[in-house]
């Protein structure tokens, strides 16, 4: 367990000192969202109707941006070989790196989302569903993305390839995340959507680190 804490602290410290990933992802999120009014027109009703979809799709794409860096730097400078040779289980290693990734990119996105929802005129009663949905959904994005990031290590055009592999797998999260916001906006209960997102998060927590660890080991072979 100490390996987990040490790796988490190391990754957080690296992210804080370099600082660029978090800022880039947030900037992308804001710019991508603010492009939509130019594309679909600035009528407040139109924007309110598609706000949930815009925010979720932008969050998905923003998560993709930073994921290909998840293991890349450690793979290139050889740290990954040492980490895999360490006594800590590789699944814990993946968990620590995924948690650090979520804390530095997913969580800021969740915190920023109400502000962007304001720009898109999302109905006020939908805010809890948006925030709760993103809070449950973004860790799944990171966990599934960790599998993809481990698979494309050493590939040509890894970043583009990663989006081809991972985006289709994100579709269920998008469906239930947007579904929760839309249900809340029309005054229906959104508990079911959140429960399903929670179930997917638990499933991803149980399976994804294991699969990503297998993928890492075969990448380091």
């Amino acid at each position: 367990m100490s390996g987990f804490g040490a790796l988490l602290r190391r990754d957080l410290r690296l992210a804080l000192r370099q600082g660029s990933d978090t800022a880039t992802v947030l900037a992308f999120f804001v710019i991508a969202v603010s492009l939509f009014p130019f594309g679909v027109g600035a009528e407040r009703e139109t924007l309110a109707a598609i706000a949930a979809g815009i925010l979720w799709v932008a969050a998905l794409l923003a998560a993709m941006l930073s994921l290909d860096r998840l293991f890349q730097a450690d793979y290139e400078d050889g740290t990954l070989d040492y980490l895999l040779a360490a006594p800590a289980a590789p699944t814990l290693l993946v968990m620590a790196k995924a948690l650090a990734h979520w804390l530095t990119t997913g969580l800021p996105l969740v915190i920023l989302s109400p502000l962007l929802a304001l720009l898109l005129n999302l109905p006020q009663k939908a805010y809890p569903a948006l925030i709760a949905g993103l809070a449950l959904g973004t860790p799944i994005l990171t966990l599934i993305g960790a599998i993809g990031a481990a698979l494309v290590l050493g590939a040509r055009r890894g970043g583009v390839l990663l989006s081809l592999l991972i985006l289709p797998l994100y579709i269920p999260i998008l469906i239930f995340g947007v579904g929760a916001v839309e249900a809340a906006a029309t005054g229906q209960g959104f508990r079911v959507h959140l429960l399903l997102l929670g179930a997917m998060l638990l499933g991803a927590l149980a399976l994804a680190p294991f699969v990503a660890a297998v993928a890492l080991r075969q990448a380091a072979e």
Binding site: I147, L151, V152, G154, A155, R156, R157, G158, L161, L164, L165, L167, P168, L169, I171, P172, I175, F176, G179, M200, L207, V211, V214, A215, Q218, A219, E221
Partner: protein, 247 residues
């Protein structure tokens, strides 16, 4: 069964097996598809005339349904071969997965194309975000990812291992995707587009349909054997070239 599978790990033995099996699968495929097409297009009755029924458009199912079945069947084959390669290190597993995946992608594309042709006639739109069409589209994306990952590495063995893991991840995710697309579809689409309690398929149509399904399956095995043989030959050429470079 497992002993026989292990015997095929020897490339020379697999080559002999392929040579013996190929004429059978090829002829069975040609016979079944030929008979199924003639029966389906010329002999089987058309549907009830529109607007109640589907008229002559119904004949698209003789290609559409077998393709849809094959797109799923081939993915199952890719996943089974990948599991065999990852768990038992069966050398043929990666080769079969690599050979089958593009064929499956073609079947998924054929399903989408025929479904869209049918939709243009029956729904008045080339594309409708119907649950089944959408699921096949996502399956097509999964195939594309698998093919791209297989070819993304300078070392083919590395690509094969990564693609095998991806195929298994896809198998776990497919039911979740299918379920969520169904859920999304019932929320967003008016249910009138597809009548769930449509008329049961006529026995006259069932026979050619099954002939086509068997034909498509035999066709897949024919192409799979050919492609796997070509992959093995390519591997041997690569090894020989490397040895020449080293010498």
């Amino acid at each position: 069964m497992s002993a026989r599978l292990h015997a095929l790990a020897n490339p020379a033995r697999f080559g002999r097996f392929a040579r013996r099996a190929l004429p059978w699968t090829a002829w069975l495929a040609a016979l079944c598809i030929g008979a199924g097409l003639v029966w389906g297009v010329f002999i089987a009755p058309p549907g009830a005339p529109p607007p109640e029924g589907q008229g002559e458009t119904v004949r698209i199912i003789y290609v559409h349904v077998p393709s849809a079945w094959m797109s799923l069947f081939v993915y199952a084959c890719v996943a089974a071969a990948s599991a065999g390669a990852l768990i038992w290190r069966h050398p043929l597993g990666h080769i079969v997965a690599r050979a089958a995946s593009p064929v499956g992608a073609c079947f998924a594309l054929l399903t989408l194309a025929t479904g869209s042709l049918w939709g243009a006639k029956m729904w008045g739109a080339w594309w409708v975000w119907d649950a089944r069409l959408t699921s096949v589209l996502i399956l097509f994306f999964l195939y594309l990812g698998h093919i791209a990952l297989t070819h993304a590495f300078d070392d083919p063995a590395r690509g094969a291992r990564a693609a095998a893991i991806l195929a298994l991840v896809g198998v776990v995710n497919l039911p979740i995707i299918k379920f969520s697309v169904d859920w999304w579809n019932t929320l967003h689409q008016p249910a009138s587009i597809i009548r769930r309690d449509g008329p049961a398929i006529d026995a006259q149509m069932l026979a050619p349909l099954f002939l086509m399904i068997f034909g498509f399956t035999f066709y897949f095995f024919t192409v799979l054997l050919l492609r796997a043989r070509a992959e093995l030959a390519a591997l041997r050429t690569r090894a020989l070239k490397l040895r020449m470079l080293a010498a």
